[in-house]
Structure formats: structure tokens, C-alpha cells
């Protein structure tokens, strides 16, 4: 990356509560947001943050994004006035599925009461770009806005693409992240039919007894700015997005390449983009879904790129899989963890699996020794369809 990309604000709504610090601090303390096998954002009450009109004009996934964006913009010091020409601020919020809750509710109405019962708000609420649109309107951001749609890599793709917008000069700043609200009967049944979900409802990434992922919901939003511009205006810099790499497996609709080739390629590309070598990386925030296939392939990829000495942990052990929001939520948690020089834990890790012998930071957070250097971390996100997106984050 040539123009420096910095993060000046973060926000999150997750199963661990409302707020980015709440997410990170609870995860670091080993708390879990998973109840009865589901990672629901139960502490989120839309009308605590949104007017009745705003709440009913948005699917839950857009509501999450709006509330996370409020937090991120406030932290960046953007709350009262945008520090940039609004035409130069872009919005890019990824999602895996979009407003599937709205889709299901209206489909039910159509079947039960006929086509005239379908709400005129259906399409504007369910469309995959609805979260980006809501955030753009909420904060008067008039640069380009759209959504990335790449299943469970969508949040990371959004952040990486946002950085490129600044680097190419298309924007001075971007409000970006990912959002998902798919704890619905159809989405849950569909993932279960794929045998992707944990039968026991336990998220235990990398453990020998892992049997699938636990569904979660939420969003995270980051404010990215050109480093020079951010410093000029005296912004507090939380960290740098030092590099971004993305590849495709071109292999299978749902399964990762078992040798982790695409994942490794994305990690290498992110490091190359950042100008770092494997020895610089002090922590990996794994995609770590708790599925048998992902965790094995990802372990192989990490070993190939970084060797077996680097601490690796998965936030999904504490909140489940937030699908299109995962990459953004995990990037936010990683930045906050690197600020504290802490590797947060992989919860529920008890039984080492054969051939999977990385340092998974089991069950307890650990202080990282970075020898006085900036903390460099990778945050991995991989999606159905073979989409791989990796962010390289650097924190002074």
C-alpha cells in the first residue's frame, strides 16, 4: 500500500453486547455470547438508538450497521461535523445475505394473505446494499456507496476495498465494515441442511471434537482515513491497515481447498502488500469457524505462510460465526487486542486434533511480547464460494 490507511474509529454490535470495547474486553476475559447454541445480539434494542421511523425503515442487519457506525464516527471525532467534503467520504458495508428476516416475513405474508399483503418496504429493507445506504444517509456521506457480497468474507472484502478507494484517490475516508442478521428459520435450516452447524451448539475452533459452526449476528464498522489527512486534523489513530490480500480457491462451492492454497495466497498477498515478512507477525485472528474442514485447511495455510510459532485464536469461539460481519468484527477486535498487546483466547479448546498443532491460545488470553515494536497481526476471512480476504493490521 502506498498511501497509508489508518483506522480512527471502531464500533460493534455483537452477541457480547453493544460496543467495540465491550466485545473485546469480554472476549479477552473469556466470556461467551453464545446461549443455547446461538450467538444472538440480545443486548441490542433498536429503539434505544434509533427512532421508530428509522427502526422500521431498516432490516435488523442495517440497524446493527447504523448503531455500529454511530460509535465508530463518534470515536473518530466525526459526530458533530464531517472533517472531509462529504462527496469524498465513501460507505462500504459488506453482508453475506442481507435482509433475509424481511424476506422471510414478507414471503410468509404473501403465502398466507396474498400478494397485496406484501409490504412496500420489503425490497428497500432486504436488499444487500441496505446497510450501506442507511449508513450513508444517516451521516450524510455522499461519496460512492455499495455493498460487498462474498459470504463470510464480505466484511473483510469491504475493508480491503475501502482502503483501495482511499489509495486510488477516489475517497479521502471510508466508513466500512460488515453486518449480518441471519438468525432466521430459513437461514438456520439451510445451514443445518448443509451440515455446517454444530449439532451440539458448541463453537470450539481447532478442537478435535469441533462439529460445525454456531450462528451469530451483529456488525462492526470502522472509519478509515488517509494517514496524512488524519494526522493533519489531529485524529487519534487506533491502528493502520497495513496490507490487504484477496484470492479465490476456484475449487468448490462450499469446501475450502484442503491444502489451504487460496487462504495461504491471501495471507501472503496481505503481507506483501504491507511490506512485512512472516517474522513480523505476532498474532493471527483466524477465520476459525469450528468446522472440521476450515480449521484444518486454515491451520495448513498458516503453517505454510508463518510457520508454527505464532499465536492464533478465533473470536468465533466466543460469539459464533457472524457470516458477512465476521471479517469486520474480527478486524475491530484484533486492532483493540493489538493495542493492549494481548492475544485473546480460543474458548472451548480442550482436545488437540491430529496434525493441528499451532498455538491456538486455548481458553485464556495471553500477553504478547513484541520487543518494543509495533504489533502486526493478520485477520483472516474466508467465504463460501472460495473467497479469501486477509487484512494485515499494524498497531503502534
Amino acid at each position: 500500500m502506498n498511501r497509508e490507511i489508518v483506522v480512527t474509529g471502531v464500533g460493534a454490535v455483537t452477541p457480547l453486547g453493544v460496543g467495540a470495547r465491550t466485545l473485546y474486553e469480554r472476549w479477552r476475559a473469556g466470556e461467551s455470547g453464545i446461549r443455547d447454541g446461538v450467538g444472538a445480539a440480545n443486548e441490542f434494542e433498536p429503539t434505544d438508538y434509533l427512532t421508530v421511523k428509522e427502526a422500521r425503515r431498516s432490516d435488523r442487519f442495517a440497524q446493527f450497521a447504523m448503531v455500529a457506525s454511530d460509535e465508530a464516527l463518534a470515536e473518530a471525532g466525526w459526530k458533530d461535523e464531517l472533517p472531509y467534503d462529504p462527496n469524498r467520504v465513501a460507505t462500504l458495508i459488506g453482508t453475506g445475505i442481507g435482509g433475509i428476516g424481511t424476506l422471510e416475513a414478507n414471503h410468509k405474508l404473501m403465502l398466507e394473505k396474498g400478494p397485496k399483503a406484501v409490504s412496500p418496504l420489503s425490497i428497500p429493507l432486504l436488499m444487500g446494499n441496505a446497510a450501506s445506504a442507511a449508513v450513508s444517509m444517516r451521516h450524510d456521506l455522499r461519496g460512492q456507496s455499495f455493498a460487498t457480497l462474498s459470504a463470510c468474507a464480505a466484511g473483510a472484502h469491504a475493508i480491503g476495498t475501502a482502503a483501495r478507494m482511499i489509495q486510488t484517490g477516489d475517497a479521502d475516508a471510508v466508513v466500512t465494515g460488515g453486518s449480518e442478521a441471519a438468525l432466521t428459520p430459513l437461514a438456520t435450516s439451510a445451514f443445518a441442511a448443509l451440515d455446517a452447524l454444530s449439532d451440539l451448539g458448541i463453537s470450539r475452533p481447532f478442537d478435535a471434537q469441533r462439529d460445525g459452526f454456531v450462528m451469530g449476528e451483529g456488525a462492526a464498522v470502522l472509519v478509515l482515513e488517509d494517514g496524512d489527512r488524519a494526522r493533519e486534523r489531529g485524529a487519534t489513530i487506533l491502528g493502520r491497515l497495513a496490507g490487504y490480500g484477496s484470492t479465490s480457491d476456484a475449487y468448490h462451492l462450499t469446501a475450502p481447498n484442503k491444502d489451504g492454497i487460496g487462504a495461504a495466497g491471501a495471507m501472503e498477498a496481505a503481507l506483501r502488500d504491507a511490506g512485512f515478512g512472516p517474522q513480523d507477525v505476532v498474532y493471527v485472528n483466524a477465520h476459525g469457524t469450528s468446522t472440521p474442514l476450515n480449521d484444518r485447511a486454515e491451520t495448513i495455510a498458516i503453517k505454510q505462510v508463518l510457520g508454527d510459532g505464532v499465536p492464533v485464536s478465533s473470536l468465533k469461539s466466543a460469539i459464533g460465526h457472524l457470516l458477512g460481519a465476521a471479517g469486520a468484527v474480527e478486524a475491530v477486535a484484533t486492532i483493540l487486542a493489538m493495542r493492549d498487546r494481548v492475544a485473546p483466547p480460543t474458548l472451548n479448546y480442550e482436545h488437540p486434533d491430529e496434525g493441528m498443532d499451532l498455538d491456538y491460545v486455548p481458553n485464556e488470553a495471553r500477553t504478547l511480547d513484541v520487543n518494543g515494536k509495533p504489533a502486526v497481526a493478520l485477520s483472516n476471512a474466508f467465504g463460501f464460494g472460495g473467497h479469501n480476504a486477509v487484512l494485515c493490521l499494524e498497531v503502534e
Binding site: 427512532t51 421508530v52 421511523k53 428509522e54 422500521r56 397485496k116 409490504s119 412496500p120 418496504l121 428497500p124
Partner: protein
């Protein structure tokens, strides 16, 4: 069966629907404009749907463009009676 259209009945329906869209009940009157109430085209599309469901009267396109006040909407529905 559609309900019988009377000015009172339609007013009750409209007054009952608007708060669902986030309108402050105390601001609702026949003379209040939809603009003042922050009722936009999407809200009117929903209101039209509620009215059609209850009275079988369709308000579409040009109709919605012509109504400015709550009273306009009620009068238009009543004028379509029968």
C-alpha cells in the same frame, strides 16, 4: 368484505396508522401536512395498502401525488366510496 366508508371510519383508520410510521400522535390533525409530519412516499405507500386492505379503495400514483394533508387523504378515500 371491505368496511363501510364513512368520514369518521376513514379518519380513525388514518389516525391509527400514522403513529405506526413514527408520527407523533399529538401532531396529527386534518390540516397537518404530510411534509410536516415527516410522512414520505414510502409511508404513503404503506398507508395506501392499509386503506385498500380495509376499504377496498386503491390509491395509486397520481392520487398520492395530489394529497398534501391528512384531510386530503381522508377526503379522497371517502370520495371513492361506492
Amino acid at each position: 368484505m371491505a368496511a363501510t366508508i364513512t368520514p369518521e371510519a376513514v379518519e380513525k383508520t388514518v389516525y391509527g396508522a400514522l403513529p405506526q410510521f413514527g408520527v407523533d400522535e399529538s401532531q396529527i390533525s386534518r390540516d397537518a401536512t404530510f411534509e410536516e409530519l415527516d410522512v414520505d412516499s414510502l409511508d404513503l405507500a404503506e398507508l395506501s395498502q392499509i386503506i385498500e386492505d380495509e376499504y377496498g379503495v386503491q390509491l395509486k400514483g397520481d392520487d398520492v401525488g395530489k394529497i398534501k394533508t391528512v384531510g386530503d387523504a381522508i377526503d379522497l378515500v371517502v370520495s371513492r366510496a361506492g
